[in-house]
């Protein structure tokens, strides 16, 4: 056997100041040229393991390390991160913070410069790597003007410029829209074919890891299972038990009693035909008709938020909203989707008066946002920002959640009751005395939601409530939102997660370049795959599969109810 590219032996690590090992007794070997995906729920130790490969652990993060990581014969204990950089490239999740140059060219040059690569050779590597990731036309642009997906591509190019033998990517697509994600996975796909590069990617999205050679599942710092990608993805029970998202297609076929489960839309369509299955048209029509009736009943109400030809141009001259007309009705559960930078967030900020229109009109409860002002409007329209850390500042959960009610002059008793009530609503009852900063990301997210809910707004806007959470946390976050909606709150959420839209939204607005491209129920919207693609969106694999059958179905259960015939 040849020497492995990466050998991890008995690796255990504990961050300084914590009581639990972040990873424990990990043994793993990666062959040269292999593509391994690391999956697991939040706090499983995925990022910790990734940081061990290039020596950030133990050199950058201080803590207790046992065991060894050997990359192409180099032990990370004996080489600094900078010295490892020639062999191991690391791409981070946060595409903003890892870029630091003022133009694209110089960003790529930075690595080779540090290794005293001659100038002509650097020029060559810039050309080569920009072409590789498809950014050749952007070489003189400042990275800050690139889109999220382009920034992440640039980060990959800048690491590849060092010609590493191993590339580690830590959730490179978490903050990206579906098509930007595809762009990154397309690059990953080319990288995996290279025999000179060993690829280790930490990833949440089950649909995207099909091309990996192997998947390693991690939970509570321990390796649960390592195996061929297909084999792991077909093990739905295992995936679900780890709190990861099982593939919809696989779930569907398992319910039909298949043993060799199809995984991709292509395989699914082929298997459907081969098994002689057909869709009962009437059942599908009944589903759509029911949704239509519900939508019509909503539309008969007086709208809560009404936009007419809404326009917004930033002081710098960038037009973010170019004429949007839409209505949000009381009790709606609305998803706003679109590419990074399409204007979704700018639109949502109009709803609570953070930004005021530069053209057209917007009214909330019949009055324009301008006459109400942000302070008064904040009472009826609550806004939960994407990053809970931009919001939380108190030492206890109680102080944080009571901030809004107190500002609005509520009496102490009432504040206490409100806090208890809202904490119960977000599933954090009894945590009043806890320190929000010591909670997990999903815990902090909930505190942020509670803090906004505590003033009892009519409308709750959530900006990417599921980003950065694992599947299990995403589900429980959205179940909570659904509950709030059932209790009467109107919900508007911005998201990149198409499955969340399919599962939870009742109405979808698709935004592209500051305009409304599509609107309708998830079923109606996801039927328009081509238009969605223009907006850099793509339905989940399962829906793509049903679209190819000629019907749009949102969940495996729906298709099961509509399927007839065959041996299954």
């Amino acid at each position: 056997m040849t020497e492995p590219a990466i050998a991890i032996k008995g690796l255990t690590y504990r961050y300084r100041g914590t009581k639990k090992n972040a990873i424990e007794a990990i043994d793993l070997e990666l062959e040269k040229g292999e593509f391994l995906v690391l999956m697991g729920p939040s706090e499983a130790g995925k990022s910790t393991l990734a940081a061990c490969i290039n020596g950030l652990i133990p050199h950058f993060h201080k803590g207790k390390l046992a065991g060894d990581v050997i990359v192409y014969g180099k032990n990370t204990r004996e080489h600094t991160v900078s010295q490892m950089a020639e062999d191991v490239g690391l791409v981070f999740q946060d595409f903003e913070a890892q870029l630091f140059s003022t133009n694209v060219e110089l960003e790529i040059a930075f690595g080779p410069e540090n290794f005293a690569v001659p100038r002509e050779e650097i020029a060559h590597r810039i050309d080569e790597n920009l072409a590789y990731v498809g950014l050749s036309d952007f070489r003189n642009r400042p990275p800050s003007t690139l889109s999220g997906g382009q920034k992440q591509k640039l980060a990959i190019a800048s690491v590849l410029a060092l010609r590493p033998k191993v590339l580690v990517m830590d959730e490179p697509t978490t903050d990206l829209d579906p098509v930007s994600k595809m762009g990154i996975f397309e690059i990953t796909d080319r990288l995996r074919r290279r025999s000179d590069l060993t690829l280790l990617v930490v990833e949440h999205e089950t649909e995207e890891v099909l091309k990996a050679n192997r998947i390693a599942l991690l939970k509570d710092g321990q390796l649960v299972k390592v195996g061929p990608a297909r084999e792991i993805l077909q093990d739905i029970d295992l995936i679900e038990s780890l709190g990861l998202m099982p593939l919809g297609i696989a779930r569907f076929y398992r319910s039909l009693g298949f043993s060799d489960l199809p995984l991709t839309p292509d395989e699914a369509v082929a298997a459907y035909k081969e098994a002689g299955l057909t869709v009962v048209c009437a059942h599908h029509e009944a589903l759509a008709a029911e949704e239509k009736r519900a939508a019509a009943a909503q539309a008969a109400k007086e709208p809560l938020i009404r936009c007419r030809d809404l326009e917004f141009t930033y002081p710098g001259g960038v037009t973010a909203i170019a004429g949007i007309s839409l209505d949000v009705f009381p009790g709606d559960m609305v998803a706003i989707v679109g590419q990074n930078g399409s204007g979704k967030t700018t639109l949502a900020k109009q709803f609570n008066g953070l930004l005021l229109p530069t053209g057209g009109s917007i009214t909330v409860n019949g009055k324009t946002t301008k006459e109400q002002g942000i302070f008064r409007l904040g009472q009826s329209v609550g806004y939960v920002f994407q990053n809970p850390d931009h919001q939380i500042f108190s030492e206890t959960v109680f102080d944080e959640v009571s901030f809004g009610p107190r500002l609005r002059g509520l009496a102490d008793d009432e504040v206490k009751a409100r806090v208890a009530e809202t904490l119960a609503a977000v599933g954090l009852e009894g945590t009043e005395a806890e320190d929000p900063f010591s909670m997990t990301k999903s815990g902090r997210q909930r505190v942020a939601v509670a803090a906004v809910l505590a003033v009892k707004p009519d409308v709750l806007i959530l900006d990417e409530p599921t980003t950065g959470l694992d599947y299990h946390e995403q589900c429980s976050m959205m179940e909570m939102v659904k509950r709030l909606n059932k209790q009467g709150s109107t919900i508007i959420f911005i998201t990149h997660h198409m499955w969340v839209v399919a599962e939870y939204a009742r109405k979808v607005f698709v935004i592209k370049d500051g305009q409304l491209l599509l609107e309708g129920t998830p079923r109606e919207v996801f039927a328009h795959e081509q238009e969605l693609l223009e907006a850099s969106l793509r339905p989940p694999h399962f829906i793509q599969f049903t679209n190819r059958l000629g019907y749009t179905m949102l969940r495996p259960e729906e298709l099961i109810g509509c399927t007839e015939g065959g041996a299954g």
Partner: protein
């Protein structure tokens, strides 16, 4: 939303070598300190304004207008206290000390403006290169430019955070000074935390790309002094020499001023 300090306008001033810009900055700094009389300060002020105009840096100056205003007012008051004259003006102020205070304020504003011109027209990497070529070690140049780089990052997170808190009903516009300062707490804690986090990732990204891996490094960016650079430096030399000579010869002072 634009929070970068560098203004990508491509004016002739932008095209100057970073070294030239650094030397001009230092030259004007020296020149501005040579005179105590605000009238004598006017030529330097004109010189600074000319550079602001040519480089189109006023946008950045406009952005920091409140800082400039606060600085000017406090400087006028302070320098009045730290000097005294012979001709009473009003209350406790004298004509001479007022003149002197105006002069000092002008000096501060000019130096700040020159700094703004420098960073508005010079990319971070050029600034590092300029400093290295003038003899500073790479790490020092990098540290200076990194702290400059931090400004837009902190500014943009401050903006997001203030939006988040205003959405929750935080009202920063009303109340007395103490109230307002207390109200800033919901902004400062998250800004602090997100800055630490960003700096942490920045540090990791730097090392992961081999920062300081070798004792020597190469530079992709190339710099060349052009004819305009040399002409400008010659003019600057004249200006500095003239200022120093005038100072030694006793011009530009305020008669009857005592300063501490």
């Amino acid at each position: 939303m634009e929070s970068e300090l560098y203004l990508d306008y491509g004016t002739p001033y932008h095209r100057l070598d970073a070294r030239t810009k650094l030397i001009v900055f230092l030259g004007v700094f020296v020149g501005a300190l040579m005179f105590k009389n605000p009238i004598w300060q006017l030529p330097t002020a004109a010189l600074v304004l000319l550079q602001v105009a040519v480089s189109r840096s006023w946008r950045n100056l406009y952005r920091i207008r409140f800082v400039l205003l606060v600085m000017s007012v406090s400087s006028i008051i302070l320098w009045n206290f730290f000097s005294s004259g012979t001709t009473p003006l009003f209350w406790i102020f004298e004509v001479e000390s007022m003149f002197y205070a105006i002069n000092r304020t002008m000096t501060i504003l000019m130096i700040v403006s020159m700094g703004v011109v420098l960073i508005s027209t010079t990319r971070n990497e050029e600034l590092i290169m300029g400093m290295i070529r003038m003899g500073l070690p790479y790490r020092v140049g990098f540290a200076v430019s990194t702290s400059l780089r931090l400004v837009p990052t902190v500014a943009s997170s401050l903006m997001t955070i203030s939006q988040a808190q205003r959405s929750r009903g935080l009202d920063l516009e009303t109340g007395n000074i103490v109230d307002r300062l207390k109200k800033f707490l919901p902004l400062l804690v998250p800004v602090f935390i997100s800055s630490i986090r960003n700096t942490n990732i920045f540090g990791m990204a730097l090392e992961s790309r081999g920062f300081g891996a070798r004792p020597d490094r190469t530079y992709y960016l190339q710099m060349r002094m052009r004819a305009t650079d040399w002409v400008l430096l010659a003019l600057l030399l004249l200006y500095v020499a003239a200022s120093i000579w005038l100072n030694i010869a006793g011009y530009g002072r305020i008669v009857g001023l005592t300063n501490f």
